[in-house]
């Protein structure tokens, strides 16, 4: 490795750590925010679990909803903590500092993703606790190394999507905000977060599988619930698709960031607030 490459890699890692550090410290700075972020999304999950209970559904269906509900935390972090982040930075007047810094923009996005993943995992643990201690969710024989691998590849794919969204939103103003708002529940529906994706039928489920969250939640359910998960595709296929999707999304994010940075500079929208 040449000295220039080594210095470039070091700068990338330092920028990644710097951005992740801000996010981690920011997450814990206001403890009541941590509590509300962790608790409130899970209340919706509780409502869905109680719906299944009211319908007399099997306990595995409750587990299906709980796993989906836990993953909602990550999806919202991807939407608001990644996708809309550039919008927030623009509103705060900080976006130009990112572009003036000597480091790679992808390093900043990677740091945002890493910090967001850690803080979201802490929040998601509240959902896990509700599932275990309140609803007494029953799991199949779980291979925890496989679970860890599936969780990791799901998160990589999800946050790579977040990096792509973040890149796209460099150009936009309020549209980014509204788009994130509009994407929350529709993606929860299309991804089958609260019900088996197979409910859509073969074709619908295949189309829904384009979204990494769909494959991720389905794969995690297969690992945790076994056949009761009513999985969409074989686990190995879903892992391969998620891994391939991650690479594709990261490549797209890098290209989109490059292109939209240039475009927003040309149109003078990089520092434009209140639009």
């Amino acid at each position: 490795m040449s000295r220039a490459t080594a210095r470039g890699a070091e700068l990338f890692l330092r920028a990644t750590w710097a951005r992740a550090y801000v996010r981690l410290v920011g997450s814990f700075r206001q403890p009541e925010w941590l509590l509300t972020d962790a608790l409130f999304p899970n209340l919706g999950m509780c409502a869905f679990v109680l719906l299944y209970r009211g319908l007399g559904a099997s306990r595995s269906m409750e587990a299906v909803a709980i796993i989906g509900g836990v993953l909602v935390t990550f999806w919202f972090n991807v939407l608001w903590g990644m996708g809309a982040q550039m919008f927030w930075e623009k509103q705060q007047g900080q976006l130009q500092l990112y572009f003036a810094a000597p480091c790679s923009r992808m390093a900043i996005l990677t740091g945002m993703a890493a910090g967001g993943l850690v803080s979201s995992t802490i929040r998601a643990l509240v959902g896990v606790a509700i599932g275990v201690f309140v609803f007494h969710v029953q799991l199949a024989q779980v291979s925890w190394p496989v679970f860890a691998a599936v969780f990791l590849v799901t998160m990589l794919a999800l946050y790579a999507l977040g990096m792509l969204l973040s890149s796209l939103f460099v150009l936009y103003g309020r549209e980014a905000w509204h788009l994130c708002n509009a994407l929350g529940e529709p993606v929860q529906f299309v991804s089958g977060l609260y019900f088996p994706v197979r409910t859509f039928g073969e074709v619908g489920a295949a189309l829904a599988g384009i979204i990494p969250l769909t494959l991720g939640v389905d794969a995690l359910r297969q690992v945790l619930l076994g056949p009761a998960a009513r999985g969409l595709l074989p686990l190995s296929t879903e892992i391969a698709l998620l891994a391939g999707g991650t690479v594709l999304l990261l490549w797209l994010a890098a290209r989109a960031l490059e292109h939209l940075e240039r475009l927003s500079k040309q149109e003078g929208r990089l520092t434009q607030r209140w639009q």
Binding site: W33, L50, L51, Q91, G184
Partner: protein
Amino acid sequence: MAMSLTLQRVRTSAWLGWQVEGNWADPTLFAIYVVARPLATALILVAMYRAVGGAQTHDALFAGFYLANAFHNYVNSVVVGMGWAVFEEREEYETLKYVYTSPVGLFTYLAGRSLVKFALASVSVALILGLGFLALGLRIDPAQVQWAPLAFSIVLGLIGVLFVGYLMAALCLVLTRAAITIIEGTTVAFYLLAGVIFPLDLLPMALRVVSLMLPFTWWYEALRRFAFGRGASVQLASLSDGALLAAFIGVTAVTGVVAWVGCHALDRQARRLGRVDQTTLF
């Protein structure tokens, strides 16, 4: 004269609210934005029902949950919207102080802003009910419907939504950036506590007590009973129609008093803390 002036101010605030809400996109995109979220929530409910073998989407129980889920859009839209109006005026546009110093006054201004939210929520509710009718085979049996109590319940429920909306807006005056998660989260909490999509009998006793203190719980139960002839809760089924309405009126009236007192107290607190022009986020 005073009423006419107030109405004029509400109308102007509503117009301004419409510009803030809708001028970021072309009408088609805006229409998609308005309907995407509530329709998705309704579709999640449908998919969950279908995922459970044997559950029929045209039975009365599902119809009651579907109806309540549709009307919960008013809570999502108006309650969150009024809180957001305060938050974005103060933090994002930094104009809340001008609303305070204008002759319109904050609470009249919020009434105008809530009108836009109400209109948008009405579109969503109509679309969700239309979807239920056309695609899911949901029907109202005229023999079961009690039109007068149903109409009264709808109006009373909307008044309750407005009361809670004012209270949330006043809370946002005092809260700083945590207001975002608090107001969004509170509506999710209402979704659980009001038993929108499940019988409230399934809640633990402590939460059931909280549930019965919310106007929305009574609203949704009244809507189900007067539209489909049966509610969802076994506990509330023992109440006669008159008792149900009386409880609904009582809880809404108490909510109104709490909102009135709370709004003025929180407003004073916000001024005392200097929160009216404090920016903590953008």
